[in-house]
């Protein structure tokens, strides 16, 4: 497809959609959202980019192969179980680290739960794009 309107809008939208996906990822701990849905949103950004320009350019924009991205993401999610294991907790027990807390402030929460969600995000993004690129290029 070669539409100036679509290409112009995509320039703006891709950045917005990707930003929104990160917002959904971080929001997901206590509110609707999370790694899965955020991964789908992020893949929508790349699919839009691919439709406006081409598969090849979308692949280049992603920089690494989608299958590799999915594998890394899934391994990251599995790896988030390891810190809990070291402390003899049941699998997938959430462990928390608060950065810069004190004086009634809790600080920035970091957790193995977030690590798990980021892994899911990458895994979903990678597998959806792998499917899309394969289907479109055949």
């Amino acid at each position: 497809m070669n539409s100036v309107i679509l290409q112009g809008a995509t320039r703006l939208l891709v950045a917005l959609i990707l930003l929104f996906s990160v917002y959904m990822l971080l929001r997901g701990h206590n509110l609707p959202g999370g790694g899965f849905i955020a991964g789908l949103i992020a893949s929508a950004a790349f699919i839009l980019y691919a439709l406006a320009w081409s598969m090849r350019e979308a692949r280049e924009a992603l920089r690494i192969s989608p299958v590799r991205l999915a594998t890394v993401g899934a391994l990251l999610s599995l790896g988030s179980a390891v810190p809990g294991a070291l402390q003899a907790n049941p699998p997938f027990t959430g462990l928390w680290l608060f950065l810069g807390g004190g004086d009634g402030e809790k600080g920035v929460p970091l957790s193995t739960v977030l690590l798990f969600d980021i892994g899911i995000y990458l895994a979903v993004l990678g597998s959806v794009l792998a499917l899309f690129f394969t289907l479109e290029e055949d």
């Binding site: 594998t71 391994l75 027990t93």
Partner: protein
Amino acid sequence: MGWLLALPFLLPIAVGLLAFAARRTPPLARAISLIGCVGLLLVAGAIFVQVLAQGPVAAQMGNWPAPFGITLVADRLSAIMLLLVALVGASVAVFALADVDRHRETLGFQGFYQLLLAGVCGSFVTGDLFNLYVWFEVMLIASFALLVLGGDREQLDGGIKYVALNLVSTLLMLMAIGMIYGLTGTLNMAALHQALAEVEQPATLQLLAVLLIAAFGIKAALFPLYFWLPASYHVPPVAVTAVFAGLLTKVGVYALIRTFTLIFPADLGFTRELLLGAALLTMLSGVLGAASQYEFRRILAFHIISQIGFLVLGLALYSPLALAGTVFYMAHNIVAKTNLLLMSGTARRMAGSFDLLKIGGLYRASPLLAAVFFIAAFSLAGFPPLSGFWAKLLLVTASLDQAAYWVAATALVTGALTLFSMSKIWSEAFWKAHPQEPPQTLASLPAIERVQRMAPAVVLVLITLLLGLFPQPLIEFSQAAAAELLNPAGYVAVVLSPSE
């Protein structure tokens, strides 16, 4: 305890990911996959020993107490299913080394194979209805990938039919899960056992029960929902068919057993009659379908359906002996069926086709292959003293105890027709001379391929023989498992009020 119960799916997922990452160097991927299978055997063995020693065991994921978090539970039924998965998983993984071509391996066969094992194991240990749905999806994705991997036209055709019907099944299951959650506010199976017993809306409960029978019935290939199975099971490599035949439909039966012993109260109107009718028609239609086929693998595929009828029959009769029969039948059937499909693959390798009219002379070409096939096939048909005989004996005795003579008669007729199909394969493929040139002998295959093909088959046939000659330990185990299923108080207690 927590980690031990999570390992049956964590291990294959981790192994699968590593094997997938290494897919471009098949020897490495093979090694990773085989090590994973050995690990799974050890894990399943450890869980089995623990369950034997102390009854049902449970673990709360993420340290969230039931019914808020996801609970993993293993009772005797789960434990033996895990052991069978690990056994079939390891046997077929070895066979696949010889059977699956390099092209499919570089596409990621080993990774998807492990993912399939993870889905099956996850279904057997989960104590949460929604989590069960998730594992069903994992299985569906992995099995679809295995079905179409390599991408023959025929494979895609079978794969689409398979995935379309299975999507209907998961959709029905999701609907039922949503309604159950709306009704009770929980999806923990043990909590549902208590909550659904207090729901005083018999019509709603029956609706939910029928939805779940339909959903799991499609998975299990129950009459009249089995059409996806003969349409798809003959297209992928034999190793894939073998692991599907051994495990996938059995997960559907397992889910039915869990649903109608643990989740729903025992007196649920017409659902038992529905299951009984479906079971009998499944037995008959599967075996009749097989009788009309003239292809090695398609005959076996139809027999999977017929055997599913026997498994559900025990659940429908709902007596201690009948459920014990189902557990015994499960163990017997998974071992014998997987083995028969492995044999069909080796037979094709030697004689050149699955079509019974085009092959022959296998008895002369390989007495070992013939002996293994003979034992597995006649065990399936229920010949004494092989394992299938004891399985059928338990079920037939249970139906006679309830004076359900026509049920017993159907079971016996099905057994006789199974014998007919098995003798057809025997006389066509093994006994008669090959229509063109004599088949390759087993000894003419490369030594390593011979071991990869025959070692799993010999191990499985030895298990069939052991179960047949010394059935008592397994019968006692099955009776204990059935007692646990019929009185889930121990299961509920270990989930909802852990003592630790």
